[in-house]
């Protein structure tokens, strides 16, 4: 198991005496990971800490061995990329291409290479035809895709997506799923915050449940979704397929449509 991120006794407070995260310790390897939890659980805060934009109040975070307290955020950006929850917090250039090139230009210092990477990333999210448009002339869903492309173009080993699927229609969702799959194939650690349980069930190997600043559950996605009682405590629902399977009286936790179909076919044959 090669360790990519190590979090040790991490606590964080924006305001004194009000801890948003409480003594969290965990390790990330290459397994794609979903972070779920209700609004205000501290998910965004947690990934901003990983990214080095916030520094721990106490405890330590190591990104590929670098302590986030000891290196600059800019330095870390070679290794870890964060797609912000709100794309408007991230976009500040005048054209889509410039926006996506900003990161690679800082890292590579080579304009041609940076442009190549940027165009590749834009193709990945299907925006190659909108390269010369002002980002604010795009709708929210496309702007979110721009913000994803601008991180992918930097080619970091760790990519964190903060609610990538908000405001996306089916097409946008499919694009994002494909991007994540492609990143996984390239051997990158993908961490995603989301409220979409179907998305979690379909894509991610590991799931972490944050609740009021502590980790309520952490493990294999299937194991996590079989802890229905605990999930209920965190006000989280099961993926739709799992709900349906429960209603059908199936004991196992099934996560995807395909699994359910296979299960039903198999059982029919047996009966």
């Amino acid at each position: 198991m090669d360790e990519v991120i190590r979090v040790q006794n991490l606590s964080f407070a924006y305001k004194q005496d009000y801890e948003v995260l409480k003594n969290i310790s965990l390790v990330f390897d290459k397994k794609s990971t979903a972070i779920i939890g209700q609004n205000g659980a501290g998910k965004t805060t947690f990934v901003k800490l990983l990214k080095g934009l916030l520094k721990p109040t106490s405890g330590e975070i190591y990104i590929k061995g670098y302590n986030t307290k000891e290196v600059s955020t800019a330095f870390l950006s070679k290794y870890i990329g964060l797609v912000f929850q709100n794309p408007n917090d991230q976009i500040f250039k005048n054209t889509v291409l410039e926006e996506v090139m900003f990161g690679p230009l800082n890292i590579l210092k080579d304009k041609k290479q940076a442009q190549e990477n940027a165009i590749k990333a834009l193709e990945m999210v299907g925006l190659q035809d909108k390269m010369h448009i002002h980002p604010y002339d795009l709708g929210l869903s496309d702007r979110k895709l721009v913000s994803i492309a601008s991180i992918v173009s930097m080619d970091p080993d760790i990519i964190i997506l903060d609610e990538p699927t908000i405001a996306q229609d089916h097409k946008g969702n499919t694009i994002i799923k494909n991007v994540i799959k492609e990143l996984k194939e390239k051997g990158k650690l993908v961490i995603t915050i989301t409220h979409d349980m179907d998305f979690v069930a379909e894509i991610f190997e590991r799931t972490i449940v944050l609740n009021e600043g502590i980790i309520l559950l952490d493990g294999n996605t299937r194991e996590v979704f079989s802890q229905q009682e605990i999930l209920k405590k965190a006000y989280l629902e099961l993926p739709h397929v799992a709900q349906l399977a429960k209603k059908l009286g199936i004991k196992q936790t099934l996560l995807t449509e395909q699994e359910l179909i296979n299960f039903l076919k198999h059982n029919k044959l047996n009966n």
């Binding site: 934009l53 955020t73 990329g81 991230q90 604010y136």
Partner: protein, 256 residues
């Protein structure tokens, strides 16, 4: 919405008094010692406003302003003590310098008047939310447009600052060094100005539209969202304060 403001939450008596009364007090604390130009009057108001600073539990926050202006006042004390035109009676000597009583008294008068103004204003700004003050003024008949201009001015700077912070984060997050040497920071700051200004213009436009759809320009009489339950004695206080002002003017005219 964040305001540029020195207000701090509290529950002192002065937090409960309505903003207009406090504003009136500031005006009177400044005007009366000018109208009745005696050291006793200045001293009286200085004592009152100092007491109020303590009642407002704002002494700690007023102290820095006081100490800063003390620097200026000490120089005034020096200059007047040495060179005041009516200097006659030597008071004490410091090395080769002779300080005179008249000059020192004159400078003390100035000091008391300045500290009085600082304390009075401190009581107002440390215990009053700017938005409450503006709303109170609008209730008293100041045009809502003027009120809006004031509150925008107070909002725009924190707003720009938070936009700048956001963009700085976005830049850092994508590999631009914004910490460290001056040139590094300058390099990060220059590309910031464009989007910061643009973003605040966009939000100004959006705010204007939001105001318009809620009938900001309507000529109907407006009602207010906040009916703040201020101290019920505020009317009495206001009348008393205005009476003090009127009396001091009459006094001045009579004793001329």
């Amino acid at each position: 919405m964040r305001y540029l403001s020195l207000y701090q939450e509290g529950n002192s008596l002065l937090h409960k008094i309505d903003p207009i009364t406090k504003l009136l007090f500031v005006i009177i604390a400044i005007l009366v010692p000018i109208i009745i130009n005696t050291l006793t009057m200045a001293l009286a108001f200085f004592i009152i406003s100092t007491l109020l600073v303590f009642v407002a539990r704002a002494f700690k926050r007023t102290l820095p302003i006081i100490s800063f202006s003390s620097l200026v006042i000490i120089t005034v004390l020096f200059i007047q003590g040495l060179f005041y035109l009516k200097n006659q009676t030597p008071f004490f000597t410091l090395g080769p310098f002779v300080f005179y009583k008249e000059g020192l008294l004159y400078a003390t008068g100035i000091a008391i008047r300045i500290f009085n103004i600082i304390n009075a204003v401190a009581v107002l700004i440390f215990t009053t939310k700017p938005s409450d003050l503006i709303e109170a003024l609008v209730k008293k008949g100041v045009s809502p447009k003027i009120g809006y201009v004031f509150s925008s001015v107070l909002q725009i700077i924190p707003q720009m600052m938070s936009i700048v912070d956001t963009i700085l984060d976005a830049q850092k997050a994508r590999g631009l060094e914004t910490e460290g040497s001056f040139t590094k920071r300058a390099k990060a700051f220059i590309p910031l100005i464009g989007p910061a200004v643009l973003n605040s213009l966009i939000s100004t436009k959006e705010r204007a539209m939001a105001l318009e759809v809620r009938g900001f320009n309507s000529k109907k009489k407006k009602t207010f969202l906040n009916e703040v339950p201020y101290n019920k004695y505020s009317n009495v206080l206001q009348v008393a304060l205005i009476a003090i002002l009127v009396f001091s003017i009459i006094w001045r005219i009579i004793s001329w």
